[in-house]
């Protein structure tokens, strides 16, 4: 199913789907689609070596949390392909990007478009904050900062077992405020975990607003480099730069790609909401209408009916 569409087409489709969903539902994680569309499109459509999905196109309903009485529990990992030694694994660390990730699964043919109608509906596994059983999610990452550690442990385990598949962690820059991320980085460097790489959506936004106002984390490239990892900063909306970054030799070290992005890329009108971009809920019917008209024009689609 690889490369039926171009990366550009997938990224455009992600923005359209997330936009449509947000207009219809009077809000959502819209800016994350703007900043991360190219990265997720590139990961699923291009760079990751994933097997075919093992899960149904229409996700199963929520069937209970893991427990000794629920032995049939399955995670959303199957949407990223089977657990076979040669395939890569993808950990989506900021589970708040779930809507964007679901849209990506649809665009690359791993999930049906109707699945998005199940988003945040009672009894659905397509949860608002990606849960372990949500499509494309392999573990619980709703608590920010645990993703890189999990990826590191998984990667070290795969190394010990001599599996060839790599582990990729999709991260956000906001979670770099959590100390655990730096604990994970020092561990990756210390143990030479080089079958792990991460791509960080550097959109400089967090819940309260712009990161520099909430908690400035400074020069993250410099920080990561001084921790001993291989780091590169690129334009996160440019596929050529993304692919070039992945080719960097990082023997004995983890590779961290800092993807500099704009939280209103492809939806310039969203800038009117700056710096409150984490979750866009329309303040008035007028704002919703204006957003609908302005952004649909930029996306080259008809205004969404709702």
């Amino acid at each position: 199913m690889k490369n039926k569409k171009t990366n550009h087409e997938v990224a455009k489709g992600i923005r359209k789907r997330v936009f449509e969903h947000c207009i219809k539902n009077n809000g959502g994680y819209l800016s994350q689609a703007c900043s991360a569309a190219e990265q997720l499109a590139w990961l699923y459509n291009d760079i990751l070596n994933l097997g075919d999905s093992t899960q149904p196109m229409i996700p199963e309903e929520f069937s209970g949390v893991p427990s000794k009485d629920n032995q049939n529990y399955i995670t959303g990992a199957g949407y990223n392909g089977p657990f076979e030694s040669s395939y890569d694994r993808l950990i989506i660390a900021p589970a708040h990007y779930a809507l964007v990730a679901y849209a990506t699964l649809i665009e690359v043919g791993r999930m049906a478009p109707e699945a998005l109608d199940m988003f945040n509906k009672d009894g659905s596994s397509v949860e608002m904050i990606g849960a372990e059983h949500s499509p494309g999610m392999e573990v619980h990452n709703g608590t920010l900062g645990v993703g890189l550690s999990t990826g590191a442990g998984l990667a070290m385990g795969r190394k010990i077992k001599k599996e060839t598949g790599e582990v990729c962690v999709f991260m956000s820059d906001g979670e770099l405020q959590e100390g655990q991320v730096w604990e994970a980085l020092q561990t990756c460097v210390h143990h030479k975990i080089d079958n792990l790489w991460a791509i960080v959506d550097v959109n400089e936004q967090q819940v309260n607003g712009a990161m520099k106002d909430v908690m400035d984390i400074g020069d993250i490239a410099n920080k990561i480099e001084s921790f001993g990892a291989i780091v590169t900063e690129i334009d996160g909306h440019n596929f050529d730069e993304l692919s070039k970054a992945k080719k960097i030799n990082h023997k004995d070290k983890p590779l961290i790609i800092l993807a500099k992005t704009s939280p209103y890329q492809g939806m310039k009108y969203l800038k009117t909401r700056f710096p409150k971009l984490h979750y866009v809920r329309f303040k008035s019917e007028e704002e919703r209408m204006n957003m609908n008209n302005e952004i649909s024009t930029e996306l080259g689609i008809s205004p969404i009916e709702y």
């Binding site: 427990s67 608590t143 550690s149 999990t150 561990t187």
Partner: protein
């Protein structure tokens, strides 16, 4: 009494050395958790995590995802206070087969508040999917690796280290209660290091005609309610629980829950830390200070039976020696 030196060191090495899926994880406390020998002899199975427990928990979750069963070593307190969020998200929720070996339970360390795990059982018991075990002697320490590794999910083990007395001859078994003495007057539940203290008290009490039924508990979750229920129903003058832990959320609460659930009108005295932090000191001093020793148990029994024994510490020391010879008999019950 036989005192075993570092029972975990040998037991873990023997158990883990040839098992491919077991990895030894340490947070900078190798010799303190008696795994320094294993580290030196099996470096390929040992992963140093440094002082970074949050990462250690999620990292171990990742190892679990890769099919490994990590044995995580640290002081108990460091495995849940700082990395609680990671413990839940990366270990407990996904039912990773992580075996958490928590040393320095309760007042067994002069390290004070920061080193004493006094609410670990309470915290771990309330986590869905978690199994909780506690060792009370060298035999239980020696047998815990196999028991812990048989569990389909995460398990927290309260571990003893250093010079550990041997009280039992049979290995720890999940869900089983050990009956150490028979008696109809008072029912005493003990766990961990409190069991040895209760044995001291028991022999001295015998002279006064007070017979106690003494039960040692090493599985704190899951609980076999029926076993507890039948014992509690038969207790004549009351029940005492004695634990090296806060009285809330541990053994005392387990007994109390069963009493209330089944509507049993029996009095329960919960010995343990009474909603207080402890400070640093020797085990003997702290046991006396916080009413966790044999004398404290005797006072509680006097209270329940409305008698006065005048038993002194000196009587107990003699009792201890006597009891060593009867241990095997107690176990054979």
């Amino acid at each position: 009494m036989e005192i075993v030196n570092k029972p975990y060191a040998k037991a873990f090495e023997d158990f883990a050395k040839d098992k491919k899926e077991i990895l030894c994880i340490s947070a900078d406390l190798d010799s303190s958790c008696e795994i320094d020998g294993f580290r030196d002899r099996y470096p390929h199975k040992f992963i140093s995590m440094g002082m970074a427990e949050q990462n250690m928990m999620s990292f171990s979750g990742g190892l679990g995802l890769a099919g490994f069963r990590p044995f995580i070593h640290s002081f108990g307190v460091f495995t849940y206070r700082r990395p609680y969020d990671q413990l839940v998200a990366s270990i407990a929720y996904p039912r990773r087969k992580a075996r958490i070996m928590g040393f320095l339970p309760g007042i067994t360390t002069p390290g004070g508040m920061t080193h004493q795990a006094i609410e670990d059982i309470s915290v771990m018991r309330t986590l869905p999917n978690m199994t909780v075990l506690e060792t009370g002697d060298a035999t239980e320490v020696e047998s815990i690796c196999e028991v812990a590794d048989s569990i389909d999910g995460p398990v927290y083990c309260r571990m003893l280290r250093g010079s550990v007395p041997r009280l039992f001859e049979t290995p720890l078994q999940i869900g089983k209660l050990r009956t150490l003495s028979e008696g109809k007057d008072i029912l005493v539940f003990t766990s961990g290091i409190c069991t040895e203290e209760a044995i001291r008290a028991r022999s001295a009490l015998k002279k006064f005609g007070i017979a106690i039924k003494h039960i040692h508990v090493s599985t704190l979750k899951p609980i076999n309610e029926e076993l507890f229920l039948s014992l509690i129903s038969e207790a004549k003058s009351g029940i005492i629980s004695m634990e090296n832990h806060l009285v809330n959320g541990g053994l005392g609460s387990i007994v109390s829950d069963i009493i209330s659930k089944y509507g049993i009108g029996k009095k329960l005295i919960k010995l343990g830390l009474q909603d207080t932090y402890a400070h640093g000191g020797s085990k003997g001093y702290l046991s006396r200070y916080y009413n966790l020793d044999a004398l404290a148990l005797i006072k509680s029994i006097e209270n329940l039976t409305n008698t006065k024994t005048n038993i002194q510490e000196v009587d107990l020391n003699e009792a201890r020696i006597e009891d060593v010879h009867s241990l095997s008999k107690a176990e054979a019950l």
